[in-house]
C-alpha cells in the first residue's frame, strides 16, 4: 500500500517535470526554458565536435533545481539564483556558473506603435495599478512631443511561474519601495492588477490583441516577434534601448565571486536595467552517488567550453554573451569543482 502511495506521489511530483532517465554515456541536464534554444545549439555543436551527447530537458528553473537536488541530473539550470535558504536544503555545496544574459522588455499595444520612454517609477506604478491611463501626466512628461492616446492601461503578466517574472519583479522591488513591501519578487507573485498569460506567447498574445495593454516579455521573444519595447531610464539616468549589447553591458559591474547576483537596476552606465544572468547549477564535489571521474571530467569540460567557445552562438540567437569579467569569474568557479576533494581542471 505504502509503495503504491509513494509511486503515485512521485508521479504527481513529476507531472510538470517529466522524468529524466539516467543515460550511461553523455550528460543529463534539466531546468530553465529561457536559455533552451541557446543550450540546444551549444549541445548540438559540442556533440559534433567532441562526441559527447548532452540531453537537456527544458522543464523550468524550479524543476531543474528539484531534479538537481534529487540527483537525477548532472546539472540543473535556472534563471534565478538559489537563495541561501534553498542552498541550505542541499547536503552538498552547489555552484552557480553563469552562461549568458537575458533581458526583459516592457512591451505595449498603442496605435502606431510609437517608441515610448519610461522611468522606473512609472513602470512600477503602472504594474501597481496606480497609473491607469496612457495620457497620465507623468508618462507625458518623459515623452514630450509624443501624442499619447486617452486609453485605459490594461496590464498583462505571466500566469505561470517563470524566471522572466523573477527578473522583472526583482527590478520593480529595487526601484519601488511600495512594490517591495506590497508584492515583492518571485517567480510568481500576487499581482495587484492585470491579466495573466501562459508563457511569453501568452503574454505577447494578450498584448497584441488588447489595445492599450502593457506587458513584459523576454528580449529574445520581443526581437523575434517584432514587438515594441519601451526605452527605460537606468540608474545612471540614461534612457537605454533594450538590445543584446546593452544587456551584456549590464554585467559590466563588480561581480561577487559566486556570481549569485541580481543585475537588475545595474550601476553600469549604458547597461539595460532589466537584465540578468542565467546559470547552470552543479555540485562542487562531483564524487556523489558513485559517479565516475570521467563523467565529472566530461561535465567540467562541457562547462568550460560553454563559457568560452560556446559563447559565440549566443548573439545570433538573441542572447547576450558573457562579458569578460563574468567569464573570468566563471573560470574560477569551474576550476573549483572537485572530485574526491581534488580540483578536476586547473587551467
Amino acid at each position: 500500500m505504502k509503495v503504491l502511495f509513494s509511486m503515485i506521489l512521485t508521479g504527481l511530483l513529476l507531472m510538470g517535470a517529466s522524468t529524466v532517465s539516467r543515460a550511461e554515456s553523455g550528460l543529463l541536464g534539466a531546468g530553465a526554458t529561457f536559455p533552451y534554444p541557446l543550450y540546444s545549439k551549444m549541445f548540438d555543436v559540442y556533440h559534433k565536435e567532441y562526441g559527447v551527447r548532452v540531453n537537456y530537458q527544458a522543464i523550468g528553473s524550479g524543476g531543474g533545481i528539484r531534479q538537481l537536488l534529487s540527483k537525477t541530473v548532472d546539472f540543473g539550470a535556472s534563471d534565478a539564483f538559489m537563495s541561501e535558504e534553498e542552498l541550505k536544503k542541499s547536503p552538498y555545496q552547489i555552484l552557480h556558473i553563469p552562461m549568458c544574459l537575458g533581458a526583459v522588455v516592457v512591451t505595449y499595444n498603442l496605435p502606431g506603435s510609437p517608441e515610448i520612454r519610461l522611468t522606473p517609477d512609472i513602470i512600477a506604478d503602472i504594474f501597481l495599478g496606480k497609473i491607469t491611463r496612457w495620457d497620465d501626466f507623468r508618462i507625458k512628461k518623459v515623452n514630450p512631443g509624443l501624442r499619447l492616446p486617452a486609453m485605459k492601461i490594461i496590464v498583462a503578466h505571466r500566469s505561470d511561474g517563470s524566471g522572466t517574472t523573477f527578473i522583472f519583479t526583482d527590478y520593480l522591488s529595487k526601484v519601488s519601495k511600495e512594490w517591495r513591501e506590497k508584492v515583492g519578487r518571485g517567480k510568481s507573485v500576487s499581482w495587484p492588477v492585470g491579466l495573466g498569460g501562459k508563457g511569453n506567447p501568452g503574454v505577447a498574445g494578450l498584448v497584441k490583441q488588447i489595445p492599450g495593454s502593457v506587458g513584459y516579455v523576454e528580449l529574445v521573444y520581443a526581437l523575434q516577434s517584432n514587438m515594441p519595447a519601451a526605452i527605460i531610464k537606468n540608474k545612471k539616468g540614461n534612457f537605454i534601448k533594450a538590445s543584446i549589447k546593452s544587456t551584456s553591458l549590464a554585467a559590466n559591474v563588480e561581480l561577487p565571486p559566486d556570481t549569485r547576483v541580481s543585475l537588475t537596476n545595474t550601476d553600469s552606465e549604458f547597461g539595460y536595467p532589466i537584465s540578468g544572468f542565467t546559470w547552470i547549477l552543479v555540485y562542487k564535489e562531483q564524487n556523489y552517488d558513485s559517479r565516475s571521474k570521467s563523467k565529472a571530467k566530461t561535465l567540467v569540460n562541457l562547462l568550460w567550453w560553454m563559457t568560452h567557445q560556446g559563447q559565440k552562438y549566443a548573439e545570433g540567437l538573441g542572447y547576450a554573451p558573457l562579458p569578460d569579467e563574468a567569464v573570468k569569474k566563471a573560470e574560477k568557479i569551474i576550476k573549483s569543482i572537485t572530485y574526491d576533494g581534488r580540483p578536476i581542471r586547473r587551467n
Binding site: L4, I8, L9, L12, S61, G62, G161, G184, L195, Q209
Partner: protein, 295 residues
Amino acid sequence: MKKDSLKSEIAFQKTIYFSGVVILLLLLGIFFTLLFSSLPSIKAFGLKFLTGREWDPVSGNFAALPFLAGTLLTSFLALVISIPFSLSIALLLGEYSKGGAISSFLTGMVELLAGIPSVIYGFWGLFILVPVIRFIELKLGLVPYGVGIFTASLILSVMIIPYSASLGKEVINLVPRELKEAAYSLGGTKFEVIKRVILPYARSGIFAGILLSLGRALGETMAVTMVIGNSHFLPTSIFSPSNTMASVIANEFTEAVDTLYLSSLIEIGLLLFLITTIVNIAGRYIINKVSVEVR
C-alpha cells in the same frame, strides 16, 4: 474437460475481481497521496484556505476562494448555456431524424466535437471568440479584456455539449416504441409526446449526461487557461477575468519549489477531487430519485 473449463472460469473471475480492486486502490491511492501531500498547507491554513482571498507565493500565504469561485462559476454557466443545445441535439438525433444520412452525419459531427483536443479549443477561443467578446464588451462599455469567465464558459459549453447530447440521444432511443405509439394513437402531437412521454421516461439518463459533462467542465484545464485571463481576484461580474483550480495548478506547478507552495497547489487538487466526487454522488442520488418517480 469439464475440470479445465472450471479452472479457466475461476481464473477469469479472479482477473475480473483483481482489476476491480486495482481501480479502487488507485482511486484511494490518489486520494490519500493528495491528502498527505497537502497536509503542510492544511495544517498551516486550515479552513481559511477555503475562505481567504490571498494567493501570494512571495509571502507564503495561500487561499483558494477565488479559484473555487472561478471553477464553479465557469462550470455551471457552461452547463446552463449548453443544456438547451445538447437537449435539442439529443431530441433531433433521437426522435426527429432517426437513421438516414443526415442523422449519421450529424452524429459523427457531434462525436468529432468531443474528440477535438482541448488546446485547439483554446486556440480557437483565443483567436476567434476572444475578439468577438471584446467587441461586445466595447459596445457594452465594459473594459475590453475579451478574456474572462464568460468567454471560458462559452468555450466550455461547446466542449461539453457532445457528452450530454450523445448520452441523451441514447436514452431517448431507449424509450419503448409501444409507449410512444400509444401516445400518438391517443392523438398526441409530436411535441406533446416529447413532453409527456419521452422526456419523463429519459429524464434520469439525460441528467446523467449533464452530470458527466459537468465533471468534464470542472476539470478542463488547457482551453480555460487560455481564455480566462488568469487573474487571482474574486470575480465581480461574468465578464471579469478569473482563474480556475485546474488552471492555477497547470500554471504554477512547474516553478513551485517551496514546500508550502507546492502543498497548497496539491490541496487545490484535493479540493477539485472532492468537488468532482460530490458532483458524482449527488448525480447518482438525483438519478435514483428521478428513476423511482417514473416508476
